[in-house]
């Protein structure tokens, strides 16, 4: 167990210093300044291939660990400041997505993650797809990529917060 402890922390600090330190420092500053220290996020998958979900989940791994800056993924849209929406909005997910949106308290922000959420990507023209997200609810920010990498998602958060700060 101690062995695991040591390894885990060594891996963590080593990498982050060389790669994303500046980005993460900036994130900490912006969250502290504009939101009083925390940002609650609810992730809603409306028909992705699961790659976006994997990358969003990776934000919590020791390399990024966004929770230490106050970004927390919450269990219910009722607790959320931000809805992080992925996928091309399938016909079957349209109603659940709208419910999640209406259940999030105001003020709320919607970030779309990944190309599918922007324009349905490879899945446009399908009988089962009702997207993109923008057709149904207002979107504050889009993070492009198929799927975007964790650092790009963090940059997206920053962009949203800076916009809000002004």
């Amino acid at each position: 167990m101690l062995f695991l402890l040591r390894r885990s922390f060594r891996l963590k600090t080593e990498e982050i210093k060389t790669e994303h330190q500046e980005l993460l420092e900036e994130l900490r500053k912006v969250i502290d300044n504009t939101l009083g220290g925390s940002l609650f996020v609810r992730e809603v998958d409306t028909g992705s291939c699961n790659a976006c979900e994997v990358e969003i989940a990776n934000l919590n791994n020791p390399y990024y660990d966004v929770e230490r800056f106050g970004i927390k993924f919450v269990a219910s849209p009722k607790h959320a400041d931000v809805l992080l929406i992925t996928g091309c909005v399938t016909r079957n997910m349209l109603v659940p997505m709208m419910k999640a949106y209406h259940n999030a308290p105001k003020p709320k922000f919607v970030i779309t993650v990944g190309d599918c959420a922007k324009d349905c990507s490879y899945f446009k023209n399908s009988y089962a797809v009702e997207g993109p997200v923008e057709r149904h609810i207002p979107v504050d920010l889009h993070i492009p990529g198929c799927p975007p990498e964790p650092s790009q998602i963090i940059e997206g958060f920053l962009k949203l917060l800076n916009k809000r700060g002004r």
Partner: protein, 496 residues
Amino acid sequence: MFLKEENVEAHQLYSKVREVISKGFYLFSMVGGDERELGGGFAIRYFFMKQGDLKVFTLRTEDVFPSVVPICPSSKNYEREIRDMFGIFPEGHPDSRKLMLYPENWDPAIHPLRKDYKGQKPEFKKYGNYNYKKVIGDGVNEILVGPIHAGIIEPGHFRFSLAGEAILQLEIRHFWKHRGIEKLCEGKDPEEVLRIVNRISGDNAVNLSIAYLNAVEPLLGVELSERAKTIRSILGEVERLWNHVRDIGWLFMDIGFPLVAQHLFSLQERLMRFNKAIAGHRFMFDVCELGGVKTDFDKNRERELFDLLELIEREIKHTEDFAIETPSVRDRFETTGRVFKKTALELSLCGVCARASGLERDTRLELPYLAYQDVHPQVHEEGDVMARFLVRVGEIYESIRLIKLFLKNMPEHTKNTHKIQKPEPYSWNMGNAETPRGNAFFFVMFDKHGKVYRLKYVDPSFRNWPAIQYAVLGDIIADFPLVNKSMNLSYAGNDL
């Protein structure tokens, strides 16, 4: 080299199916197709498999076909799917509910995979209800979960009926993410379809494209070089590694050992960064192309991969020891979420779930492809969470052994070929690969212009989802996330 199909009349079907099942075959897949334009009515192809031996029965019909559910329970969802998609009816099917087209928003008279369906969507309104099964009695209560879950995962609806703590029944409703992929692929070039195939189930992209290319390349007369075969196999195994490392991580997360979990997630991150270095993409999307692969190994990369493998082997050994030596881990893992061998046989399971329940099913063994030879299957008998954990651990060691072997025997020849013939009109082929979750099955038929006429994909999760409904019986609800993660099935691949 292509499979022979045997035409079967409706009245013979029962005896044929009964015969192969009694010989030890299991239902590998069922493929519906609208071949009315070709004068063949609706074709239903039944694939039965026994240790690499395949039997294909083709039943042709205009409107109805006999349901084989009573003698072959694993055909249940295949037949429901065919009913939704083609509007032909399995007579005697025990479940009359819709599968992927929801009566809450889709006109039940419209069947999208029929060739005369041109893509007009029905009005978005309620056409009917979906009736859930009910357990009635004193003290029985229901817990509804989803479609949107608490964690960062995909949508699916779970209904638990409980008496006190014990789960009496779990009903799963899926296909929330149904994207209509099979219809989308029709009329497209094989290359275009390959890009869609990569995005069916993102974390299995490489193995899915391998399966698809296994179906398509022989039809197009593509002769793959030995080097390309070896590189594809290595990339497929790297994908298995990062999937299994992550899945084991989630198991520890769910039993309150986040430190071990985070440690494994950092290994997953290392592997995904290696993916990015070798294939330019963290999930290796689009790394396989018709006739080859878009990447190559040189000495530096081999070294880098080799070091990473050493690290993973060591860390996974520590994790395995930790799990076995820690009573509180064994307490949660052992006897939880059992799938008995009999159930596994009846449901025709595949992949990790099948091997953890004592079935030696591995596509790399049954239908060897690419550079695979003498794969050692990892089989455990107990069928519980611990067995699935140990199968994954064993497969990590096996993948590492295979990758090292492939690297050692890397052939020196040219890599890619661009010779592509026009496929024979209306010829079909199947392609398989063992994804980290189990067997991926593709059926591809080309039309006379060389475009895809019919593509059917069967995800390992499509076969394995029903197993969870049996695994949780008698367990407490707090164990459900653990059972679910131990199988880690895909929603996107299942829903298509």
